[in-house]
Amino acid sequence: MIHRECGVLKTSYGADMALYPLPIARWTVGAIGVLMFAVVPFTLHEYYLSIVNLVSIAVIGALGLNILVGYTGQISVGHGAFMSVGAYTAANFAVRLGWPFWAALPMGGLMAAAVGAVVGIPSLRIKGLYLAIATLAGQLIIEWTINHVTFISGGVQASIEVPRPALFGISIASQRQMYFFLLAFVVLAVVGTMNLMRSRVGRAFIAIRDHDIAAEIIGINIFRYKLLAFAISSFYAGVTGVLYTYYLGVANYEQFQINVSIDYLAMIIIGGLGSVLGSIFGAVFVTLLPIAIRYAMEAFGGLLFSEASVRNIIPNLRLILFGGLIIMFLVVEPEGLNRLWRNIRNYFRVWPFAY
């Protein structure tokens, strides 16, 4: 049994701290890596790659939100706004000062982190529901500010066109180039989150989630770590916003409204709170859901309904399925797709035995 764990036979700290202690896990990760880097980009059509790119962007945002909601136990209904902060910051730096992409990106992330930390300040006094409402206020206030302050939004349309990103002198124009570009960020975000959660900071986040008073008593500075969680999470959101802006070629506040915040919350709930793999599952699921609905309705909707009503049905059906899935997962499987995957995996881990 190549993949059975049997006894603790680790003889070095390195082996104990390995991200993937089991050989089969290492092989799986390696295989996924080969698939993502070598097979997917050269076999899929550009259109499908553009969808994969959307998923990649969503994965980064979902990971960021999961750090805050899933690991630290805070709640944010304002992540769409943090993304817009990142997007507009990077767009302004890129257009007004002519900064290259690699310099504008961290600026966007840092600005979002700063704004996120400010919005997170109420989390020190208030919790749960109140925090949800406070971040909702943050979302609406940031949205309004970007929309109304022309210095930020660059005029009536509130949208700024950005140049194509360029790295090492190569302009990233095609979806295939974009794919590699975004995949690098996904790898960074995934590995970054996994390692963050194994570190002192990540453990402190989890302690705050599990019991904040107990965490305070064992010496965790709640003030600092809650703000840090907001900042890190918003940094991810800001980077997501920047990447999405470069993906679209334009920064537009309409891409970051309240429904985006809710989409991302749905991702981590459907995927699984407090889990990296869950964030990925959720991002894939929520991004593909509307596309799948559109395909299904365009293919079969015409059989049942007129064309005009199909156009009315698609967005509404998306909302219904989407909200319904959130409710269903919350009621039936609060740990999300990640839990379903673990159940399947654990079943096969000892297969053909019962345990």
Partner: protein
């Protein structure tokens, strides 16, 4: 100067009337929070669905207005009971974020169902009252706002009486105070949870009629739900008088702010000012003006 004063008075009177209509919707939110500790992020969508039901019975089935309102009330009461049974009862005892997210999900479902069932176009919910505003000196007061404010006040009074004097209202307060003790006293807690959701349905149905006739019934009607949060945070989440006072404050602040600031920033102050006020309130007095003060230090 007199002109300025007149303008200010106009903004104030508008604010008071709109504020009372906010109070009506906020009341639904407060009812649920008071009795069940659940937060309803779908309050605006409740109002929208109620508006749709009333309009559909008026236009599609040519029902008389009183019947349409009765149908709307019945539908929303049934909806409240059913929702509690199917969804919220299973979430009792779960973390607060689960309830918050479940109602956000519910909001999405309702926003999809409304236009899907009844069409995406804006429907006119005409009440048999004139459109001509009353003119009192500098004040222009549309009758619909007066009606809305009157309905709000009547309901607030009725609920005040209900909670203070009636047997069911007292039982509901007991449930809100401590579910365990209420259970020990022989109160059927789950039934009062269901009752609270049904009462929210009633309030939402009337909110749907009043707001629907003011704004027209379409999916955007659910946006009034966003105004509920500043109202209840200012007034206190579990307080009926707080809902009135919060509604008045929000109504006045947004109208006055819009009147004086809008010309300089190009509109939108109405949606913005209440939230700034709310953030300030959250920092200084998160439990609101009349809210129950829960001291918990971390």
């Amino acid at each position: 100067m007199a002109e300025d004063l007149g303008f200010f008075a106009l903004l104030m009177s508008n604010g008071i009337l709109i504020g009372l209509m906010y109070s009506l919707i906020a009341l639904g939110f407060v009812l649920v929070y008071k009795a069940t500790d659940a937060i309803n992020f779908a309050q605006g969508e409740f109002v929208m669905i109620a508006g749709f039901v009333v309009v559909a019975s008026l236009l599609a089935y040519k029902a008389p207005l009183w019947l349409a309102i009765v149908v709307g009330l019945g539908a929303m009461i049934g909806f409240g009971f059913g929702l509690e049974r199917v969804m919220l009862r299973r979430l009792i005892g779960r973390p607060i974020i689960a309830v918050v997210m479940a109602t956000i999900g519910l909001a999405a479902v309702l926003r999809g169902i409304g236009p899907l069932t009844w069409g995406a176009d804006t429907k006119n919910l005409a009440l048999p009252i004139s459109d001509e505003p009353f003119v009192l000196g500098p004040l222009f007061v549309p009758p619909i706002q007066i009606l809305g404010a009157a309905v709000s006040l009547a309901f607030l009074a009725a609920f005040g009486w209900f909670f203070l004097k009636s047997r069911k209202g007292i039982a509901m307060r007991a449930v809100a105070d401590s579910q365990q003790v209420a259970m020990a006293m022989g109160i059927n807690v789950e039934r009062y949870f269901a009752l609270a959701w049904a009462m929210t349905g009633v309030v939402s149905a009337l909110g749907g009629v009043v707001w629907g006739s003011l704004l027209g019934v379409d999916v955007h009607l659910s946006l009034v739900g966003f105004k509920v949060f500043p109202v209840v945070i200012l007034g206190g989440l579990d307080s009926v008088p707080g809902a009135i006072l919060g509604g008045l404050i929000v109504g006045i602040v947004e109208n006055v702010a819009a009147g004086y600031i809008d010309p300089y920033v190009g509109g939108g102050t109405k949606d913005f000012a209440p939230y700034v006020l709310m953030i300030v309130a959250l920092m200084i007095r998160p439990y609101g003006i009349f809210g129950k003060r829960i001291i918990e230090r971390v």
